[in-house]
């Protein structure tokens, strides 16, 4: 039967509407930018791994200290030991890559476990998790890490493990909240009534269907935080140590010359940090929005 459907016009092409008005488009842009960054990171990680670099990042050249960009073939100039900044930038991501993943893994895995325990099985766990959460939140994170690193060893893995641990309760409480919310919606009872066993409920219905976006956000935020944390620590002298390059200690080393008007050695890594972290934030938020909208429907 014929209906006068009006798709001809109603594929209401919003072409005339400026892009920042279209949430969907924005989120897509965010996410694509984020993914682009992630690809860049992974790409440079691979480049570093197979060292396909313009120069040897550890090659010291005392005749060419603090060379400005574009001079003598160093695209981004050289640092205080005459090492090529670009190469160090590329290889610098290795300082964060695996450790960052480690931090995220710790946070997500343990956080999820605790969260489920607290939210799904009763108040005992709940009080414990809340206590630990408040306990860890009572420290300024940087101070805690500074203390640990000063007390033990300035090693990126230490830093990241601690970042991970400090994020565990955050994730836990989020998951807990989510589960309690679902409980209010009588969703879990329904599921149990349907005879689903706990494993299915938890993993499929709770975690997969309802906590995806939340976990993704946490993961991206965790990575971003890890990088910033290392940068601050580098400034305080407890970050990744020479000769291993990390963006943090590159910014720090370059910043020594910032006041003398030599900006490039600190600006290059700083911008790298800036864009990367922005990438992670945007990726997280965009994905979250998209998934939420999906669920909203």
């Amino acid at each position: 039967m014929k209906r006068y459907s009006q798709h001809s016009i109603e594929i209401g092409d919003f072409s005339g509407v400026p892009f920042w008005k279209k949430a969907a488009v924005m989120d897509l842009m965010y996410v694509s930018y984020g993914i682009f960054i992630v690809i860049l990171v992974i790409g440079s990680y691979i480049l570093g791994a197979f060292d396909l670099l313009p120069y040897d990042p550890h090659e010291i050249n005392l005749d060419l200290l603090m060379a400005p960009p574009e001079s003598t073939g160093h695209l981004l100039g050289t640092d205080f030991m005459g090492r090529d900044i670009l190469s160090r930038l590329i290889i610098g991501i290795q300082a964060y890559f695996l450790p960052g993943l480690l931090a995220i893994a710790i946070a997500i895995i343990f956080g999820t476990c605790f969260g489920v325990l607290a939210g799904y099985w009763g108040s005992g766990f709940d009080t414990i998790v809340t206590y630990i959460n408040n306990l860890l939140n009572s420290f300024p994170r940087l101070v805690l890490i500074l203390l640990m690193v000063a007390a033990f060893k300035p090693d990126i893995y230490y830093i990241m493990v601690i970042v991970g641990i400090t994020n565990v309760p955050v994730v836990a409480s989020l998951i807990k909240g989510k589960i309690q919310f679902l409980k209010q919606k009588y969703f879990i009872e329904a599921a149990t009534a349907l005879g689903l066993n706990n494993r299915v409920i938890i993993f499929k219905h709770i975690l997969w269907h309802n906590c995806r976006s939340l976990l993704i956000i946490q993961a991206t935020l965790g990575m971003a935080e890890a990088i910033l944390m290392e940068t601050s620590l580098s400034y305080l002298g407890f970050g990744v140590q020479e000769p291993t390059p990390s963006w943090g200690n590159m910014v720090q080393a370059g910043a020594n010359y910032f006041m003398q008007g030599k900006f490039w050695p600190s600006t290059a890594p700083a911008l790298a940090i800036l864009f990367t972290i922005m990438g992670f934030h945007l990726l997280g938020d965009g994905l979250n929005n998209i998934l939420e909208r999906k669920q909203g429907k």
Binding site: P18, M26, L135, L142, A151, F152, L221, L236, M259, I273
Partner: protein
Amino acid sequence: MKLSSVRPIALLISKELVIAAFLLLGVSFVIFIILFLSPGDPFSTMLKGQMLSGAAKAGAREALGISQAWYSQYLSWLANMLHGDFGTSTRTGLPVLGEVIRVGINTLYLTVASMLLTLLLAVPIAIFSARRGMTFFNWTSTIFTYVVSALPIFWLGYIVIYISMHQFGFFPLAFGSSSQKFDWLNFMLPVFVLGIGNGTISEVVRYLREEMERVFSEDYIRTAHAKGASIWKHSFKEGFLIPITETIATKIPFILGGAVVVEQVFNWPGMGRMAWQAAQDRDYPLIMGITLLAAIIVRLGSLIQRVVHIMVNPRASQE
């Protein structure tokens, strides 16, 4: 305020205080464990090549009051602390309590001021994008928040100092000095850097915006609209008060962390700087004092948040 709501609040405060006490206990214990496990007996490093005989060493040990096993050390420290005696810094010999309070106040200025700045930036952006949707202004400002919360904060500090020197030709020494008197501009620069650079602003904006959007779509807002009342007035408590206090409570630790760096850059005589110094010297009593004070500040923040929550939301008091 009405009597009916006073009781729950008093109750809550006492409850919170008990919890806080437990937490502080936990904090002190964690720190103690870290320090205890850390390799190296700071005492002997301090005595390096200054002692003649073992006997003298022992004498000095007891002079420093660290002779017993770790748990008794902890317990005695705890006992002293309950008497309000936090010991003296092994570095300067000054009583920890006084020192920590002195720097704590400076840090509090910095933290509170930059918290306010963060909110001053975040709240309008959140409101606009929650009400008007995405206009060009909102979009750019949102992106701006993403940018600033991704900057390495000390680098931002350097930039600000460089600009203030070469563009405006003054050197930011907060708190002035004997040669330079206290100057608001100098005071504001670190606040500015910490306020926008503490890496939380984008989260804050996002959170506030979502909360407001949620509240604006509540039924009771529609009702208020229907009876011609101002929806701002009606959405104020749930849409602004609660989320903002929540943000403050949750972001204080981050800002305190940022303060460590900013105080180094701007030479701010605060807790962060002292924490760094203490961490380097393994100045146990001082570390304890500082972390405890930080914890107390954080707890205070969350206490305030809880109280506000109760006061505005009668439902919470029943729970």
